[in-house]
Amino acid sequence: AQSVSQHNHHVILSEAASLELGCNYSYGGTVNLFWYVQYPGQHLQLLLKYFSGDPLVKGIKGFEAEFIKSKFSFNLRKPSVQWSDTAEYFCASLMDSNYQLIWGAGTKLIIKP
């Protein structure tokens, strides 16, 4: 079955640390990949997305993600996190350009000031 897995359910970092959140998908066909973020008390919002072209995608707030097809991965990175990055991060995929987003379980990120 098609699935998305996020390996870390909880991550705690200090401000200015570098961040990498893992995301792997299981599907051999065409995939479109997304990272969504949910800040405390707010709606889910799109951080970045990959459809085709440059596998290194830049999103809002200094986040980026790299699509590595051979590893079925789409890890989220940020070189230096801030306290305001405390949130829950979700990886999701669309497979074969279907509209049905398949979601990972999410990673709760806590940044210590």
Binding site: H43, L44, F51, A92, Y99, Q100
Partner: protein
């Protein structure tokens, strides 16, 4: 402009009762989606509307769940004879069309608790 809105924000009900959850999408968005988020899990797709029709109802977990959309706008998700396992946050999203490249914009969700 206004985003996706959902009501109620919280709903507590007794097992066996019916509930209705409402979603008001962004004006002009033809595609509408319902998802469910259970505690500690990712979002689970329930149903997709393009206009008023639902080409994909495959995610509805049982025949107690139904949804409709009228006038290409507001959608209602109905759960009949609620069970405790229905407790979750129900999220609605809308997009300009059902094409995969259109971003889905999410509402704040309705937290349903079945006692």
């Amino acid at each position: 402009g206004a985003g996706v809105s959902q009501s109620p924000s919280n709903k507590v009900t007794e097992k066996g009762k019916d509930v209705e959850l409402r979603c008001d999408p962004i004006s002009g968005h033809t595609a509408l989606y319902w998802y469910r988020q259970s505690l500690g899990q990712g979002l689970e797709f329930l149903i997709y509307f393009q206009g008023n029709s639902a080409p994909d109802k495959s995610g509805l977990p049982s025949d107690r769940f139904s949804a409709e959309r009228t006038g290409g706008s507001v959608s209602t998700l109905t759960i009949q004879r609620t069970q405790q396992e229905d407790s979750a946050v129900y999220l609605c999203a809308s997009s300009k069309s059902g094409a995969s490249y259109n971003e889905q914009f999410f509402g704040p969700g309705t937290r349903l608790t079945v006692l």
